[in-house]
Every structure is written in structure tokens, then in C-alpha cells.
């Protein structure tokens, strides 16, 4: 491997085992997203999907370490490494989040993690029974909730709004709504969403994982582990992770239904899968101390914010169009004052 990469790996390996464990050709590149160094250097601007990931193989070719390599201008990796180190130092969280260390030079930065074998929830999900699905979602959301609560104490500097006087949800979503308006979202849909957000009022902040989907959850030695903390803490609205997680679980379990209808519209239906999704979100809302109206507000906030994030990153329309359909469905349902119906417990 390139001498520079080897030097960085050795620098990141605080235990000093890497050189002994990893042969010179024990490197497997996975998720090769973009060139390092990048073609155009744009310092200070976050660039989505840059760099590549590496699995370092031991002398027996078994995976030993997982390493993220990013261009130096990528601001998220260093932040993620700091978050992981803080979380991993907590005795309760050290079995849930991976141990990580980082190193950088003038061209590349990397994050070194121990390789955690196991089964991705994404892989097991389609085959689970209904009971096992609901049970596992509850377990995973409880793990995520514990991480969020502990992180709020461990990383208070990440909080952007003070706990005693949090901003109302409609204020937090104002920019995102404006961005959706700019790409053509109708005024009456925006108004419906604004009303639902206003009804939710102000919600105390709680650091969220931000990308909690089944591909970032691993079953390892009898417990759940969370992966990929790149955007941890950027979203600070409780229940956001639950909405994102349940929506993605539903899409993976019900791909045929998902191809023809939106999750939000389905959620308001009497279908069995919709009832299970609603129940999971409302149970989680209760654990977080949120009322059903607030939960409906967070749901609206989630679809609006997730869509706006993708648009902001400059992703092509084909990537954010499905989320925009969710926004339209939410706006459609909420316009007639059906906020409670959306997450109405049966």
C-alpha cells in the first residue's frame, strides 16, 4: 500500500498492533465513492460521498480493522471520530458504538475502527416474523434512545439550542420549508405542514443519530451495535431517528407496497403494517415524553428536513423525489387538520 496510507494507519493505531497484524497487501477497498485527492479542491465545503472505505485483512485474510479514508476538506470525519471517542469512553455505550481513532496529513484523513463482525439488521429484516420485527425495532430504538440521552450529557457542545428554552418546531423547520418552496412545493401544502409543526410547539432538544436505518444497525454477539455516526447530533429533534428508522424498515419489508404508495399515506391507513409502524412510533414518543400531536409534528418535520437535506447537498432530483412525495402526502393529510389521524393510536 502507499507509504503515506501506511504511515497514517500506524499513527491511528494507538494500541500499536496494526503493523504486526496487517500484511502489506492485506487491504480491501470497499465503498469506493470518490477520488482522493479530489479532482477539485474546495476547502471548507462539505462534499458528499467522497473518498473510500477500507477493510484491513489480517495475515489469515480475516477482517481486522475498518477504516474510512476521506479527502482533507471533508469536515465530517474528524467530527465523527471525536463523537465516537466520547461515546466509547462511556462504560454503558462502549459495547454499542465502535472504538475509533483518527489521523491526517496534508492530503488524506482517516478513521480507524476495530472490525466488528455480525449481521446487518438490513439483511435479516425482510425475513423476520411480524412479532420479531416489532420487538427488534423496539430494542433498537431503545438502544438509540440510550445513546442519544447519554450523548446529550457527554457532548453538550453539540447542542445548538439551550434546553430550557428550545425553539418551536415550526421555527426549526423554517429554512427547510423555504427550500422546498423554492423547488416548487405548493403553498397550500406548505401551509398544512406549517400548521402541523406549529401545533407541535417547542420540543426539548435531544441529539439524534441522524442516519439510523437498518444498514447502520449490526447484531453482534447477542446485542445491537450502531454504526456510522457521521451526522450524529446535527439533528436534535427527538423521535426523528424513530421516524427515519421505521420508514426505512417498512420500505425494506414492504417493497411492493412502497413502490406504489408513500409511507406517510400508508401510515394513515388501516393496513396491518401501518398499525405496527404507528404503534412503534407512538411507543417511542411516549418513552421520550412526547404527546401524539408532537409526534405528528416531528413526523412532518422529519420528511421536510430529510428532503431539504438531500436538496441542499445537490443530489439529483431522482434521489430526493421519493422523499418529496412523502412531503406531499404529509401536507395532503395535514391540510385537512388530520394531524392526529396520522399517528392516531388505534
Amino acid at each position: 500500500m502507499k507509504h503515506e496510507l501506511h504511515e497514517l494507519l500506524v499513527a491511528a493505531d494507538r494500541a500499536g498492533n496494526l503493523t504486526r497484524d496487517i500484511p502489506e497487501d492485506g487491504i480491501l477497498i470497499v465503498e469506493n465513492y470518490g477520488a482522493i485527492p479530489p479532482a477539485v479542491r474546495r476547502s471548507g465545503c462539505y462534499v458528499w460521498n467522497r473518498g473510500f472505505n477500507v477493510v484491513l485483512l489480517g495475515r489469515d485474510d480475516a477482517p481486522r480493522y475498518f477504516c474510512k479514508c476521506r479527502p482533507i476538506a471533508d469536515g465530517n470525519l474528524e467530527r465523527e471520530t471525536a463523537v465516537l471517542r466520547a461515546l466509547n469512553s462511556d462504560p454503558e455505550l462502549c459495547t454499542i458504538v465502535p472504538r475509533a481513532s483518527g489521523a491526517r496529513d496534508g492530503e488524506v484523513q482517516l478513521q480507524l475502527n476495530e472490525f466488528v463482525p455480525g449481521w446487518l439488521y438490513e439483511r435479516a429484516l425482510p425475513r423476520l416474523t411480524e412479532f420479531a420485527w416489532v420487538e427488534s425495532m423496539a430494542q433498537i430504538l431503545s438502544v438509540a434512545r440510550m445513546v442519544s440521552r447519554r450523548a446529550t450529557n457527554l457532548l453538550p457542545s453539540l447542542l445548538t439550542t439551550p434546553t430550557p428554552a428550545p425553539a418551536p418546531l415550526c421555527v426549526a423547520a423554517a429554512n427547510a420549508l423555504r427550500e422546498l418552496g423554492a423547488v416548487g412545493l405548493a403553498a397550500d401544502v406548505l401551509q398544512g405542514l406549517e400548521r402541523a409543526l406549529a401545533r407541535a410547539g417547542a420540543i426539548p432538544p435531544l441529539l439524534q443519530h441522524g442516519d439510523l436505518w437498518p444498514g447502520n444497525v449490526l447484531w453482534h454477539h447477542g446485542s445491537w451495535r450502531l454504526l456510522d455516526f457521521e451526522v450524529f447530533g446535527i439533528v436534535q429533534t427527538p423521535l426523528y431517528d424513530a421516524c427515519h428508522f421505521v420508514r426505512n424498515c417498512w420500505t425494506l419489508r414492504e417493497p411492493r407496497v412502497a413502490a406504489t404508495t408513500t409511507w406517510v399515506a400508508r401510515l394513515a391507513s388501516d393496513a396491518r403494517d401501518a398499525e405496527l409502524c404507528r404503534r412503534t412510533i407512538l411507543t417511542e414518543a411516549r418513552h421520550l415524553g412526547l404527546a401524539a400531536t408532537q409526534a405528528a409534528g416531528v413526523l412532518a418535520y422529519y420528511v421536510v428536513d430529510a428532503t431539504a437535506q438531500l436538496i441542499r447537498r445537490g443530489t439529483p432530483q431522482v434521489a430526493w423525489a421519493p422523499l418529496m412525495r412523502e412531503v406531499l402526502a404529509a401536507g395532503e393529510l395535514l391540510r385537512g387538520g388530520a394531524a392526529l389521524r396520522l399517528l392516531d393510536p388505534l
Binding site: 500500500m1 492485506g26 479514508c69
Partner: protein, 290 residues
Amino acid sequence: MDAPGPVSSWSDQELVQLAATLRRGMPWRQALSAVAQPSASDQRSEHRPDDACGNWLWLVDLARWERALDVQGGIGTMTAALARHFTSVHYVDASRPPLQFARARFSEDRSANVACAQAGSGALPYRNATFDCVVWNVALGRGVPGVALVDSPAVLAAVLTECRRVLRPGGCLYLGIATGPVPGSVLPAGRILSALVRMVVRATMQVRRVERLAVARAIPRQLRAAGFARVQAFYIDPSFQQPSSIIPARRRAVLAYERLQMTSARRRRWLAWLSLHPVLFECHMFLAYV
């Protein structure tokens, strides 16, 4: 071997069209988009200015990162990647249209460290031991149907010897060999014709798989015969244009990679377990050190 022919995944006609479009003053990125067929645009990711095709360089162990050569450089994708790692990069291609395109591309991008020249890969116009790294990507017809592996031993022997000659001691040759994409379905055809086509396709797939085994065994031998001291083999998945993964061509490494994949393809794992892993991948990459 250096006669004008299909020099990249772009056809001759498209390359001529590209060169003509550039002459009319269109920027190279726009020219690529204009010439690429919309249906094939997802496979033509090589025109993306910042793709990941050069990240294999992080696997290379070189003492010096000064001079690199891209043999049969096509539209210059790999040359652009090399230019971000090496002080000076030379691009050569035997065919005129891609050369014109590459010249326009690097002049427009103000790539001061890239020089382009017209030359065949069998007779490189450089002195011995000039380069730290030589790239011959998608060698042997670059997977174009009907061209792949025609008289490949003779072509390989000639070009590899030439590449070895221009490499400095400690230098590295990147050799990328595609065994060709497996054709998909033939849509506007009747049932009988479709069935016949499917039979032929299946037979072709089997032949291609056997061909992959042959490539995995023959190429390291030929590289050593050309004077390379150390050879490392890798697979690129799914293609050279979209190199999402680069996997060491070893049984347990491939097994580890297959376990990381989302699909639970037991047949693939069995083939890997039986050390028949070359048949699983279309794109084979070799790093050969002097």
C-alpha cells in the same frame, strides 16, 4: 495491435464524434454528455470528472511518485487520476480522435503536469527506465465484444515487455483486463428467438467464466515472463468504470468480501471457497513490480 480500433468503452464512431464536437468549441464535459447515449449514461460514468477510478493508487507501494505513463489512454480518465498523484504524467494513444479529445480536456482543465502524444503501445517513444508507474487499463480490447483476447498472448507479450522497459527499478505496472460484460436481455424479439438468444448468452457466459480462470492464471505468468519480479492480483467489482470495490485475488479475502455483501449468494461463496473466485469477477487488475 496499434491500428485504430475500439480503444475504450466508447466506440470509434463516438470518439470521432467527440473530437468533432470539441473542434466546434464545446467544453469536454458537455461534449461527453452530448455524445453519450442517454440509455447508456449510467454505464458511462468514466466521464465524471471526479470518479474513484484512481483510488487503486493507494494500494501501490512506490518509492517515488514522479513520472507516470498512461498507455492507450482513451478519453484520459485514468490520466486525470494519475495527474493527482504524480508530478508528471504522459498520455499516449495510437488513435487520433481520443488523442484530440485528451489534448482538449487537459488543456481546458489547465493540467500543467499532463503531456499527450500519439504512440502505439507496442513501441513506446520513451527511453528505458523513465517512469515510476505505467498504466495499461482495460487492456486487450477493453471488453468490446468480438475484440477481447484476440491473439492476446502475442499482444500481451509485446506490450508488457515494452511497459517493463520504460519502468524504473522499483516501478509498478497497473494492468487492467476486462473479460467483457455479460449481455442482458434482448427485448424486441419473439419467444423462439429470445429463447435461442438466451441459450447463446448462457453458453457465452460459461465461456467467459472459463476465460476469467484462464486470465487469472495466464497473466501473472506472462508478467513474470516479461521481467516483472512481483505480481499482485486483484478484482474490481463491479466494473472499471464504477470500481466500487477492489478485492485481493485470494480465496479468504474474496470470502471475506462476499460475507460483507448484502446479497446472500451461496453459489458465489461456494465458488470462492473452491478457489474458483476468478469466475466471479469481470474485471481483473494486476500490479506488477520491477
